[in-house]
Symmetry: C2
Subunit: 303 residues, 2 copies
């Protein structure tokens, strides 16, 4: 593959930035990769791992001469970072973020963006429950969606950003800012909140039931613990910054849950059966869309 | 391995019975396997698949001369089945169930159990989202837990039942009736109810967001759809028969969820961060207990 940006600066060196760097190296997408992280430890680890060509001790140094700047920090830190780097950005450069929300990111970035620098929102829908520079791997984005939120950006700049994500292995789709935040509340934010809640409940009960909750986790609970092990800082920021959409979906969720709770209390088996039948169709849609495997035991190796 | 029961009768021919039969054949655990299902279609499919040596057209025929009778029907049907087969049971035979709840099963079975027949509750903690005779496979129980609920059964009879489950590949643990129902409400029943609810909410919203919910499901939602595709009849019966424990755990869940919802509304980031940090430890416990893989991308093959 050919170079898409001559110089790429990664601000923040966690799972996403590390995976982007490895994927850029794998496919020869960037000429030079510079990087910066707030934490000295992360910078040191990144120097050892070698996925950046240059690790800088300030964000301003890292963005110097960069054609693409990736804001790969928690959403809550994006405004401060943007303010920090604004005066060092090369005219004509493109800045992207990789955050899970977009309205708040645009609000944080735009006031600091120089008039001769472009900004495009991007959101790679890929992750693991691990975090930090050691957690990155080149295949993270392969065949996964990356949502592109251009808002008012120059179409040619946006096209180049999409080309870049394709070169990292992703498929892309464009979306409006607020629609993005609403879709992500449904497919990602509320499922995470619910998983965190369930694991929290079980953790409370663990004091009663000893280690049984862990021992027998394969019965359904295990899937929740995987989701609920994700990075606490990232997820705190998601809920702090996508408040309206998450509260709206959460309202619908508790409404439905109370209807099912009432059916259990009243012994209304028909209501439960009809509800449980309807949800099977959603699963079939996901299998047909190629978003998951239909293999027995959930496609996992036996443990 | 040597034969543990000379003749085993499977009443109900779904995922669990089919998998038990394949595992019995793999390890030579039974002399002869007979089977019965309420549905003619399931009996026909089972005859074609060949995992039973004899497929009978009545439950009473199937249990004739059987040393072990497995009640592998939805929990809500166990009382009627037990009443049906009681007069055909061989003196000294052992009956087991494989249901997800136990108090209700004991209440349903015991009034019909002949005094010279034994009953032991068993609950293999294994499953997939598939159902029916075609969904069974020999490896389903390998290295998974099977909970044994002896109540007042003869210890020698119980030991034989445990030996049988070991021969199918499972590990076993003994538990009291009510403790079983409470532990399972936490690790399995409520996680399923929550997953069903979340998928139901998304299905409602799908009418608004077209197929986006399915397209971007890998962001967390996908794990819920897998759980929520499980057999509707089985899960209806679980909630109809484990009412007290599920309502209790559900009460705790909504209490915690409301506390998090309030933190989102108030913008209390510390509360969210502390909660999300605590749940990570539970995940670590599960990895350390060998109940799941720590591999990137959740140990799934890339799709």
């Amino acid at each position: 593959m050919s170079i898409i940006y001559d110089r790429v600066a990664l601000i923040g060196l966690g799972l996403i930035a590390g995976s982007m760097a490895w994927a850029m190296k794998r496919n020869g997408v960037a000429g030079t990769i510079s990087g910066f992280a707030q934490s000295q430890a992360s910078r040191d680890v990144t120097r050892d791992l070698g996925f950046c060509d240059i690790v800088c001790d300030s964000a301003l140094d890292a963005v110097k001469d960069a054609d693409l700047i990736v804001l790969a920090v928690p959403v809550g830190a994006i405004g401060a970072v943007m303010k920090d780097i604004a005066k060092g950005l090369k005219p004509g450069a493109t800045v992207i973020d990789v955050g899970s929300v977009k309205r708040d990111v645009f609000n944080a970035v735009m006031p600091h963006l120089p008039s001769d620098v472009h900004f495009v929102g991007t959101h790679p829908m890929a992750g693991t429950e691990h975090s930090g520079p050691k957690s990155g791997f080149a295949e993270l984005f392969d065949n996964r969606w990356c949502l592109i939120v251009p808002d008012k950006a120059d179409p040619q700049v946006v096209a180049r950003v999409e080309e870049y994500w394709h070169a990292l292995g992703s498929m892309t789709d464009q979306m409006d800012i607020d629609h993005h935040d609403r879709v992500c509340a449904v497919v990602s934010h509320i499922p995470h909140l619910i998983a965190y809640t369930m694991v929290g409940v079980a953790d409370d009960l663990r004091k009663v039931t000893d280690s049984e909750v862990i021992k027998y986790s394969a019965a359904g609970f295990r899937d929740f613990t995987r989701i609920a092990a994700s990075d606490p800082t990232m997820w705190r920021d998601v809920f702090m910054t996508n408040k309206d959409a998450t509260l709206e979906i959460l309202g619908r969720f508790t409404e439905e849950l109370f209807a099912l709770q009432r059916a259990i209390r009243k012994g209304d088996g028909d209501h439960l059966f009809d509800y449980f039948t309807r949800t099977r169709a959603v699963r079939r849609g996901i299998i047909e869309a190629g978003q998951d495997t239909d293999a027995p035991n959930f496609g996992r190796s036996k443990t």
